[in-house]
Symmetry: C2
Subunit: 175 residues, 2 copies
């Protein structure tokens, strides 16, 4: 059975739980508190040398990290990942957009404000992240102005990935 190492409030972990649930794949969960450094222990670094959750243990001692790579692994060959070449690449385009332009702004703002409680300390950086976060949301709004899903005409892991932190953006001050 798959085992998911996660910090459950993380949107990156949420993505993986959502897909596993929609695929009706049973899995075990191991909760790690990133606020207590539990992802920086030698034991965890042996699973992901980059010290981040989520990590999927595919079989004993075989680990995959990076949330969107895990989505790709689980979805290839299912209805949630296209079979057509261009659409496959377009899903990837939105997954990389998510990790580069969306998550570092929206998720990090949420973490600083709602988890660390350091809105004042990070005020200047938060202002910049809020601008970039709104810019990312605007790119999404524009793209979705005449379609229901990010790629093709159906729900894929691009929608799952971008939904994860968008639906809690208000916890990062993006309302």
């Amino acid at each position: 059975m798959y085992r998911l190492y996660e910090f459950s409030p993380s949107g990156n972990a949420y993505k993986v739980r959502l897909l596993l649930t929609q695929l009706e794949i049973p899995f075990d969960k191991v909760e790690l508190d990133i606020l207590k450094g539990e992802t920086r222990t030698p034991e965890f670094l042996a699973k992901n040398p980059n010290g981040r959750i989520p990590v999927l243990e595919i079989q004993p001692d075989l680990f995959l990290f990076e949330s969107n790579a895990i989505l790709f692994y689980l979805s290839e060959g299912t209805q949630y990942f296209p079979s057509e070449r261009l659409e496959r690449a377009q899903v990837m385009q939105w997954l990389f957009f998510e990790q580069y332009s969306h998550e570092p702004n929206i998720a990090t703002s949420r973490f600083w404000i709602s988890w660390l409680g350091k809105a004042d300390e990070y005020q200047d950086l938060l202002q910049k992240k809020r601008e970039l976060g709104y810019a990312a949301l605007e790119v999404m709004e524009k793209h979705l102005s005449d379609r229901a899903f990010f790629v093709g005409e159906r729900y894929t892991i691009a929608d799952i990935s971008l939904f994860a932190y968008t639906h809690v953006a208000h916890e990062g001050g993006l309302t």
Copy 2:
């Protein structure tokens, strides 16, 4: 013929040129000066609503953005992208690592120091980015300590992607 919209000093553009060249695929190049805002014009935003290079024009008026998504598009079905399920996801794992933990630190430091000439102005942020950049390089060093390539036993787009900014890391002060 493919047309690549790029800012040639960009490592993200370099990746795509390298793969196209190694695949012996001819392509046109359109140079845009990001320092002059040429990727934020209405004309360019119609190609990539996120206003970033590289963008690959696959056929007239059909555009793909995000460098690593372009690598995926061009390499699927070639020797540079694995056919085995786990290895495919492992390539993706390293591509997402590159865009989340490597590029934002190493490429941004290089841009601020060597292109904007603002090492003093960004001193504090650069210090943090240098730490995170070295941490990313250490993850790579550790992974490559007993193997020649990031995934499997052959050269893939994971190697291309991570080589792009690593080989110019010194221009960002990571020596």
